[in-house]
């Protein structure tokens, strides 16, 4: 049997392996690096960085739910300056592949973050987390409205120029994810990240009030995997040429395989790392085995396989 080609691409960025961290679920990378070598996975996707340092939301910031969890971190982070000086510099030094996630409160903030990252060496791609509230438009989430989503991506595209792939991260909390996906691609995104967390709430039985400091939170973990698979499948069906970084509830190689069959070219792992610090390595090894066992000679062949007519066998 020939060697499996496990590499993948997102736009013009190439990665030797298809498993990534999920934004906000690997901090600055240092913390996971004591459990495995960051270079062994596809890439680290950094937590979404904003212009200024941010303290995030009030605690409690998490609630465990059946096969999932809610979080309301509120994008706590050091701000772009400290991020570039410390976190990014460290990651570059480690020779890890890096996807930087950015978030803003206004379309202008996204663009100015992109400007700061333009030309910074060692970055493979930019993930644009538009699943955050737009302070200029009644706190509506950018990714929930076509125009605001497009405005952000256009601004980033214009600022960053043509080289660095832009991956727009979408929220599943919309009536029609395909139209948002198409819109951000038209606006200049090279790829899509699907899905961010699903809006949820847990009420504390003791206080009888919303448990999270932020009242609502984002649902992640295996509970949401069927929603992620559906979103990836729908978008890949409509836009088969657009690369997708899939995520949502992946905690095994079989889960990652499911997202890839649906249309993901790469898979981010978030919540699973909380439950198991070596989850990413486990998932990556299991996925390699599954692809080999199924007779695929490359990861690429498996991407979107679920869309082929039943008659096309392996």
């Amino acid at each position: 049997m020939s060697q499996l080609d496990f590499s993948t691409t997102l736009g013009n960025a190439w990665f030797p392996a298809p498993i990534f961290t999920a934004s906000g679920c690997a901090s600055s990378g240092k913390e996971l690096a004591q459990f495995f070598d960051l270079r062994d996975m596809g890439a680290i996707v950094t937590k979404s960085i904003m212009t200024k340092p941010r303290a995030g939301r009030a605690t409690p910031r998490m609630a465990e739910t059946p096969s999932g969890m809610l979080n309301s971190i509120g994008l706590q982070g050091p701000g772009i300056d400290a991020f570039l000086a410390n976190d990014l510099a460290w990651l570059v030094e480690q020779k890890a592949r890096i996807i930087v996630s950015i978030a803003g409160e206004t379309a202008e903030e996204f663009a100015s973050l992109a400007r700061r990252l333009r030309g910074v060496a060692g970055i493979s791609a930019l993930e644009v987390n538009i699943s955050c509230p737009n302070v200029e438009n009644r706190g509506m989430v950018f990714a929930c409205h076509l125009e605001s989503a497009q405005t952000v991506i256009e601004g980033v595209r214009r600022t960053i120029g043509g080289d660095l792939p832009i991956i727009a991260k979408l929220s599943p909390d919309v009536t029609d994810i395909v139209s948002i996906a198409r819109g951000v691609i038209d606006a200049g995104a090279d790829g899509l990240a699907l899905i961010n967390t699903v809006l949820g709430m847990v009420i504390n039985p003791n206080t009888m009030r919303p448990h999270l400091g932020g009242r609502t939170g984002g649902l992640s973990g295996p509970a949401v995997r069927p929603i992620a698979v559906r979103a990836i499948y729908q978008v890949h069906e409509a836009l088969p040429k657009v690369p997708i970084l899939g995520m949502g509830g992946v905690s095994s190689g079989a889960d990652a395989f499911e997202l890839i069959l649906a249309g993901a070219s790469g898979v981010s792992v978030g919540t699973a790392s909380f439950g198991n610090p070596t989850a990413i390595m486990k998932i990556q090894n299991e996925l390699r085995q599954i692809l080999t066992d199924k007779g695929f000679s490359s990861l690429r062949e498996a991407v979107g396989f679920a869309h082929r007519p039943e008659s096309s066998v392996r």
Binding site: G56, A58, T59, E64, P222, A272, G275, P277
Partner: protein, 285 residues
């Protein structure tokens, strides 16, 4: 005098499949012994472990944190750690239901340890509920350093006092408070602190227990020069510093308040640096 261990990432942390070698009910708690081999040498009083709960078909996706109560080595099973677990919700109850020989996925040692003074000081150890767990091991270490060690334990009721007999030997005095008076003196554990501090010329308080207790101690000590090393307990999703759920508002030397992760900048923190009134509030930088 007493340096606070601000270790950041605990470099000794490892993940392993460990075997349960003991599980005994003590009052309302379970004393659980877990074989972890040579890792015991890395476990310091104050460190904690994070345990995967519920088995292979579990709907619980997050680990549970438990303070390391003691470490032992035996010819029978090598190095082992002891946990004192209150069967509270689904995760801890599952753990308390395990029997000898069963295996668990565990990450340890995690977090900061209690800072140990380099000179002989007078220490007061204050434990609420299962919070007393790490204090007995700490007391031994302090005694070895030649410290005077006094201990206060408290809980709502007597069966929630965890006070091993052997542990008592390693302290100069032990006083127990229960709110319902079912064991020891009646009242709150915090009531005698101010008096003890001056009577016994306490240099450092080591505390572990509910957040409200830690806060109350900090308030009692406010303005004085008694060091307060407290082991906090914030809800933790990961225990290893990657999720940002476990933060507490802590003032740095320049007086700037920041949300620090209690899993890697804690659980042992400087009680005077924690902005207790801002816990659970939105912080604006």
């Amino acid at each position: 005098m007493v340096g606070l261990a601000m270790a950041g990432i605990n470099r000794s942390a490892a993940q392993l499949l460990a075997t349960i070698v003991g599980n005994k009910k003590v009052g309302q708690y379970h004393q659980i012994l877990i074989s972890v081999g040579d890792l015991v040498a890395q476990c310091k009083p104050g460190n904690f472990v994070a345990i995967s709960v519920g088995g292979p078909n579990s709907k619980m996706v997050l680990r549970r944190a438990f303070a390391i109560s003691r470490t032992t080595t035996s010819t029978q099973y090598g190095g082992a750690i002891e946990l004192i677990v209150a069967p509270h919700g689904n995760g801890s109850s599952w753990l308390c239901g395990l029997v000898e020989g069963e295996q668990i996925d565990i990450t340890l040692p995690l977090g900061t340890a209690f800072g140990i003074p380099t000179t002989n000081v007078n220490a007061l150890l204050v434990g609420g509920g299962y919070g007393s767990a790490p204090l007995f091991g700490l007391a031994e270490v302090l005694k070895e350093r030649g410290c005077r060690v006094d201990m206060l334990l408290g809980a709502s009721t007597g069966s929630k006092i965890y006070a091993p007999l052997e542990g008592k030997r390693s302290v100069n005095s032990l006083r127990i408070f229960t709110e319902d008076g079912s064991m020891g003196e009646t009242g709150r554990i915090t009531s005698p602190i101010a008096q003890l501090v001056s009577e016994l010329q306490i240099d450092v308080i080591y505390s572990c227990g509910p957040m409200a207790m830690l806060k109350a101690i900090s308030e009692i000590l406010d303005g004085g020069d008694v060091v307060h090393q407290c082991a906090v307990e914030e809800a933790m999703a990961c225990g290893i510093g990657i999720c940002m759920t476990c933060v507490l508002p802590v003032k740095d030397e320049a007086g700037k308040i920041n949300n620090l992760r209690s899993c890697i900048d804690g659980p042992v923190m400087d009680g005077a640096a924690i902005e207790w009134d801002l816990v659970g509030k939105t912080l604006v930088l």
